[in-house]
Amino acid sequence: MGAYFSEIFRGLQSLATGLGITFKEFFKPVVTVPYPYETIKMSDRFRGHIELVENEEGKPKCVACGMCQRACPSGCISLASKSVEYEVEVKGEMKTKKKKVLTKYNLNFTTCSLCGQCVESCNFGAITFSKEYNLASSRKEDFHFDLLNRLKERNS
């Protein structure tokens, strides 16, 4: 009999404790961010999709070596280049040299797993992570990024 009542009493006590906790929380300020109206700043190391890095002339740093393409586990990077001849002065003489110039750098973001292997594999620091996270669309094609175009748009 005593156990019966003490169990009821302890049960009620535990319920009251719970109610006390939620009552206290009721008066605390909210902790959420009203998302579309306010956004938080992404941390410096946040890994968004990749972006080409430009050199001082506003041209991509990329030398089209293709390391990123090979490192990518899901094969979402495709790039193309062409050879361009250019002249340099070596010991007072003009010489023509060949250089690869990036003509296409496409990222298929639909299959990218944001692992960052491409950025790590790049020996020239030519790609970096963007801080974009508000990517949303109902069309798949919107995530086939032409990174060269994006670079141009950024510069213009």
Binding site: L19, T22, E25, V30, T32
Partner: protein
């Protein structure tokens, strides 16, 4: 004669409007309250403080298609949500909001409310069974056994009060408690020393009767998906939802009338409808508060609570009060 009919019609319309408005805005209050308890704002986009959320929800629900599952019993499927809402509104007719604001004061007011409350279980049973969903059937069977076992302690408690006051008329019940907090039924007196416990029992039972957490076994969203209204969409679901909140208002009003002195002021001054409303909204807040604090009970835990704790104690209280009423 025609004036009485007009009076009655106006009263009924006001009752319906009050029930519907309460149902709609209690959803908003519940969501805001839950939000605050969980450290988030709740609905706050539609209108100031999100106050336009209920009409928006209502519009959305009304524009949706009512899908009747194949193999369902069509007639019963359609009747069930109406049966959830109608008794709740009917009950409002007898509830006295103040000395003068009452649609129809009846001598058997308490009995009538309980009769309509039992119909609520009927709607749950019909909804679950007619929608031909296994989860729905399981939920409705649960809900019915729950309603039956919780009506017993509830009625025993009411009998205790009726014995003390000698009336079943809700208005007279309140009148017998007027004149300050010391006259209320919740306060123990010489002839009824266990009234606070009775109040707790009645409160628990009304939580269970209205299928509120922690006794929301009929819905049990983590086990039975959505319980008896799994197959309901559009306004069918909306009616269940509104019926639930209308029932909550009834439950809170009943507690106020039976235990908390109705429209009586705690100090015995300026009684009026505002006191009644204040009391029921405090009670409704506590319903919301409890819902967002506790986990759900099990079906056998629920029945154990009713048959092993609530019924014996309320019976004991009945006997004790009966005996003491003879003495004092």
């Amino acid at each position: 004669m025609s004036l009485t009919i007009l009076n009655a019609v106006i009263a009924v319309v006001i009752a319906i409007a009050f029930a519907a408005l309460n149902a709609a805005y209690l959803v908003w209050a519940e969501r805001r309250g839950a939000g605050r308890i969980q450290r988030r704002p709740g609905p706050n986009v539609n209108g100031p403080l999100g106050l336009l959320q209920p009409p928006a929800d209502g519009l959305k629900l009304m524009t949706k298609q009512l899908v009747i599952p194949g193999g369902a019993d069509k007639a019963l499927f359609m009747v069930a949500p109406v049966l959830a809402m109608a008794p709740a509104i009917m009950s409002f007719v007898t509830i006295p909001f103040s000395d003068s604001i009452v649609a129809r004061s009846m001598d058997i007011g308490v009995l009538m409310i309980f009769a309509f409350a039992s119909l609520g279980a009927m709607s749950v049973l019909l909804a679950g069974w007619s929608s031909r969903n296994k989860y729905g059937v399981m939920a409705s069977v649960r809900a019915v056994s729950q309603n039956i076992s919780y009506e017993i302690p509830m009625l025993i408690t009411v009998i205790t009060i009726v014995m003390m006051t000698g009336t079943m008329n809700l208005k007279e019940l309140v009148a017998s408690q007027s004149g300050g907090i010391w006259n209320w039924n919740i306060v123990p007196s010489l002839s009824s020393p266990l009234m606070p416990i009775s109040f707790l029992i009645f409160f628990t039972c009304s939580l269970a009767e209205t299928n509120r957490a922690p006794f929301d076994l009929g819905e049990a969203e983590s086990e039975l998906v959505a319980g008896f209204h799994t197959e309901y969409g559009s306004m069918g679901f909306g009616l269940f939802f509104m019926g639930e909140y209308a029932n909550i208002v009834i439950g809170a009003s009943l507690i106020t009338i039976l235990f908390l002195g109705g429209w009586d002021c705690p100090l015995g001054l300026f009684p009026g409808v505002w006191w009644f409303l204040l009391k029921i909204y405090v009670l409704i807040f506590s319903f919301i508060w409890i819902r967002w604090t506790f986990p759900r009970t099990t079906i056998y835990g629920l029945l154990n609570l009713s048959w092993k704790i609530l019924i014996p104690i309320s019976l004991f209280n009945l006997l004790l009060t009966a005996g003491l009423l003879k003495v004092f």
